[in-house]
């Protein structure tokens, strides 16, 4: 089985027709399902949050071994399907960049809660950057999380009264007071 680093690629990735958007509805639906799963899986394994549709280097968009690449139309179709399913969001109106939610925002919120409990931070204050890149986050899924995604999760928790977000001392950093 072909691998990208340690990631095992599924069989269909080596079959040329899967790189062409299929015209027959049933076949296309199966094709889309396969690609959706692959994209989510790959992004989760590699902690990838944003996919640029024009990014020539994104490994899933082409398979040099069979000399095939996904057309722009195909890429858009697969990512749109993820968006429709609630597992991704377009970051711009022209649909050039896509935020991949291999964990849903709700899941991220729960991960933050677990993180707080695991580290005894129930009444403390942290900056958003510390949550993202601090020592405590190392080894957890929170480490290196996309800032946009983290803010969304934090705002969700704020609405539930689990924390309060406030502006920090510098213009571009924000802090969080947990009250779990």
């Amino acid at each position: 089985m072909q691998k990208l680093g340690d990631f095992k690629l599924p069989q269909f990735f080596n079959y040329p027709p899967y790189f062409t958007l299929q015209p027959v509805r049933d076949t296309r639906e199966k094709q889309i399902q396969l690609w959706k799963d692959l994209i989510l899986d790959y992004c989760k394994t590699h902690h990838i949050f944003v996919i640029g549709l024009e990014d020539q280097d994104f490994p899933l968009f082409s398979n040099p071994a069979i000399e095939r690449s996904l057309t722009y139309e195909a890429r858009e179709a697969f990512l749109s399907a993820l968006v429709a399913q609630g597992r991704a969001e377009w970051l711009d109106k022209s649909r050039r960049k896509c935020l991949v939610l291999w964990h849903r925002i709700q899941d991220w919120a729960n991960i933050v809660l677990d993180f707080v409990k695991d580290n005894g931070l129930e009444d403390s204050v942290m900056t958003v950057e510390e949550i993202r890149t601090g020592i405590e986050s190392r080894g957890t899924e929170l480490h290196g999380i996309d800032r946009t995604v983290l803010m969304r999760a934090l705002k969700m928790l704020e609405q539930k009264g689990k924390l309060a977000i406030f502006k920090g001392t510098t213009a571009d950093d924000e802090g969080v007071k947990f009250s779990i």
Binding site: P16, P17, Q22, I66, R68
Partner: protein, 250 residues
């Protein structure tokens, strides 16, 4: 018998005919009885043989196949029922039943990819992978027998020949001669193009595209517009093996 004129002569002739007829019937009956006796002897000997070689029949696919051929010649079907001498002695009914269930499973699992048509070779290979822990080896012959039993149940499973290969069909799709010819062409590289069909089969473009459209609609074919020569390729999952690595085509 000397022919005698008159009524007496006629009566005699009739009586002789009757006697000849009776004799003829007797001879036929004797022949039939003899044959029946021979057949019974043969069957008994076959049963003895089966008893003695039970293990070989179970474990060795080639031997099993020969055994089946012998049975067919004698008019015995070990798989006819799950009860009775043969099934109990050999447990063969269960073996093929189980095989049948696994085959249906595999066909269902691969249907999204190949549209309900699978290469017999690949089916057997997947079957063997599944049965790795089982001591009994499985041959293509076994697969075919299990599938023929499935047919009897009316599951719509059928084996069709395309070129040199056998394909197992698990959906009601009927393939006509044009479709068959395309599948046969596809066996070489796993795909076919319209120009190739026009050239090798001398078809019109319209005829080729019609056939391809049907095969696409049935889920048996997929299009591929990605080759740098810009020619659309029609791929047929049922003639390739999912597990075989596919290199780039030139």
């Amino acid at each position: 018998m000397r022919r005698r004129p008159g009524i007496g002569g006629l009566q005699n002739a009739a009586a002789s005919r009757d006697q000849y007829r009776l004799l003829g019937e007797n001879v036929a009956k004797i022949r039939t009885d003899l044959m029946k006796e021979q057949l019974t002897t043969f069957r008994t000997q076959l049963e003895d043989f089966a008893r003695k070689h039970k293990n070989d029949i179970r474990k060795n696919p080639a031997f099993r196949s020969q055994f089946h051929n012998m049975c067919t010649k004698v008019g015995v079907d070990p798989l006819a029922s799950n009860k009775g001498f043969w099934a109990e002695l050999l447990g063969i009914g269960d073996f093929y039943y189980e095989l049948g269930v696994q085959i249906v499973d595999i066909c269902l699992a691969t249907r999204p990819h190949n549209g309900g048509l699978i290469n017999l070779q690949e089916l057997c290979s997947l079957l063997r992978q599944r049965r790795k822990s089982d001591r009994e080896a499985v041959s293509e012959d076994d697969c075919l027998r299990a599938i023929s039993k499935l047919k009897v149940l009316g599951n719509g499973y059928e084996v069709i020949s395309v070129g040199k290969r056998k394909l197992v069909r698990s959906v009601p799709t009927e393939l006509n001669k044009d479709h068959n010819e395309i599948l046969e062409l596809a066996q070489a590289q796993g795909f076919v193009t319209v120009p190739e069909v026009e050239r090798r089969l001398s078809w019109t473009t319209g005829r080729a595209i019609d056939a391809f459209d049907t095969l696409l609609d049935e889920g048996l074919a997929m299009i591929d517009d990605g080759h740098k020569d810009g020619v659309r390729r029609y791929w047929f999952p049922c003639v390739s093996s999912i597990s075989a690595p596919l290199g780039a085509d030139s």
